[in-house]
């Protein structure tokens, strides 16, 4: 934890009765940082967001927002937070302008500043055309953007966004990402998403969570580097399979070999080698194979964020459920 940590979670757990939803979660979000929160459904993302927002209290551990303990100073802390829940919290009978005015007033925006503040968030979220419309008439995309607009009111220090681009069309997704990116330049943003590309595009760091446990938190590039420790080399070779396997396994740094016949060419094998993440392993494989057989193709597979995510969430399938 550093002085610029705006969101701090220290060994946070949440239980509903005997069911543990979040286990000993610890991480920080710094000012000027956008952190992506990745995890499958039921991983504990929304519960964690709710604890940070002060909607529900942690069973144990501590949630701090800009120095406020959200267990005891949640009202003070709420002044510093803009929160977009998974389902945009909208009053259908109000019009867009009345809704934004209500939220702005509660957030302490002064009466004189209200019109300017509403105009600012309406412009940022492209809501100018519907300011006078009743909320129940809005499309899903507008509802989502209105939810984001209320979170931006009052320029909070912290923005918590639960699936902020859900229900948006590609153009709107792009615009929303720009809004989040601009806001994240000098604020702390934590956003949960299922869209892995979104995390890569706009997040400085990504936290992967499953069964309520934090599995990894690092920059997308850092996660890729870490995953390369067990990455793969793929090759296509014309060879005798048992000898090929023996040769490959004798190469230093190769842990496992999986051979499949290449359906297109008889005698050609597609081989997947699990290798150590160090320089030169693929070169050693090439030397060992090329002298004996015809090597048609050799590539080192770079792990995508999607592969990394799947590896993390599949590696520990039941730890959390058993707890």
């Amino acid at each position: 934890m550093s002085a610029s940590s705006v969101i701090v979670l220290e060994s946070v757990s949440k239980r509903y009765g005997s069911r543990a939803v979040v286990h000993e979660l610890s991480f920080t979000v710094e000012k000027g940082e956008i952190v992506g929160f990745l995890g499958p459904n039921g991983a504990g993302k929304t519960t964690t967001m709710r604890m940070i927002a002060g909607f529900t209290a942690a069973t144990s551990g501590r949630v701090m927002v800009a120095g406020r303990d959200m267990a005891t100073e949640n009202v003070d802390g709420a002044r510093l937070i803009g929160y977009l829940p998974e389902r945009p919290p909208l009053y259908d009978t109000l019009d867009v302008s009345a809704y934004l005015r209500f939220v702005a007033k509660v957030k302490g925006v002064r009466r004189a500043a209200l019109p300017g503040e509403i105009e600012r968030v309406a412009t940022a979220c492209r809501l100018e055309a519907v300011l006078r419309d009743e909320i129940f008439k809005l499309s899903k995309g507008y509802r989502q953007r209105l939810g984001l607009a209320q979170a931006l009111l009052g320029s909070p220090e912290v923005l918590l966004l639960d699936e902020p681009t859900a229900s948006l069309d590609p153009g709107q997704i792009q615009e929303t990402r720009e809004v989040i990116r601009a806001f994240g330049a000098d604020h702390a943003v934590l956003l949960s998403t299922h869209i892995l590309a979104e995390a890569t595009l706009i997040c400085g760091r990504v936290a992967i969570i499953n069964h309520g446990r934090l599995l990894a938190i690092d920059s997308p590039a850092g996660l890729q580097r870490a995953m390369e420790q067990t990455n793969q080399v793929l090759l296509r070779v014309t060879a005798e399979p048992s000898a090929l396997r023996a040769v490959l396994l004798s190469v230093e740094g190769v842990h496992a070999v999986n051979l499949r016949t290449d359906g297109a060419d008889a005698g050609v094998w597609s081989v997947e080698c699990q290798v150590e993440a160090r320089e030169g392993v693929e070169a050693a494989i090439a030397r060992a194979v090329a002298g004996r057989w015809d090597l048609h193709q050799l590539e080192r597979r770079q792990p995508t964020l999607e592969n990394i995510f799947l590896r993390y969430v599949q590696d520990l399938p039941e730890r959390g459920a058993a707890a």
């Binding site: 937070i81 919290p89 009978t93 109000l94 509660v106």
Partner: protein
Amino acid sequence: MSGTRAVFQKEIATYFRSPIAYYVVAVFLLGSGYFFLYNIFLGGETAMAGTFQNMGVLLLTLAPVISMRLMATEYSAGTAELLLTLPLTPWQIVLGKFLGAATILLLIIAGTLVDLIPLYFFGTPETTTILAGYLGFLLLGLACLAVGLLFSTVTHNQIVAALLTAAVLLGFWFVGHLQTFQTSAVVRGLVGYLSFSLHFTDFIQGLVRTEGVVFYVVVAAIALTLSAGYLQWRR
């Protein structure tokens, strides 16, 4: 205070952008108007006592309709997640909502003032008795709405909230009748003290007793405190 005011203003806007407020006010005024005309022209009454009594029963059935949506719809619409994560204390939320519902009650009272025109035009009613009756009606209404807010706070379903509120209010209204079956003076005193109708009867007869005022205020205060406490606890 600004938080309470913002919640109150939102409540008022929400009430009047949905049919509920219009429905409740219209039904109440139609009902009380009917009873007033019946009591005056068919009953030969030249006071408001009978009408107040009917207004009290009408209020018991309509207060749950006013209060049922106060918190229950916030849960079902997902807006509780906004309300409870904005910089608002549970008391600011509860008071803002209670005052919003109380405004509907005041509108109902204002609507019934029309009844006084023919009463004063054709007769000589006792003004202090009428004022006491209105005070009793206001206090009864506030207590009913506070109880309704409590049940709306502890359930996510507004129909369930309305039914629970109606059941409890009817219980409070009729509990005084148990006096007839009690031999113990203590129990008779207790059920009499808990009776919404017996205290209300005092008011409409022109008796403004501290005991009655305190009773309704305490019922409302307990219900509001439990509502605020529940919002704090559910975190």
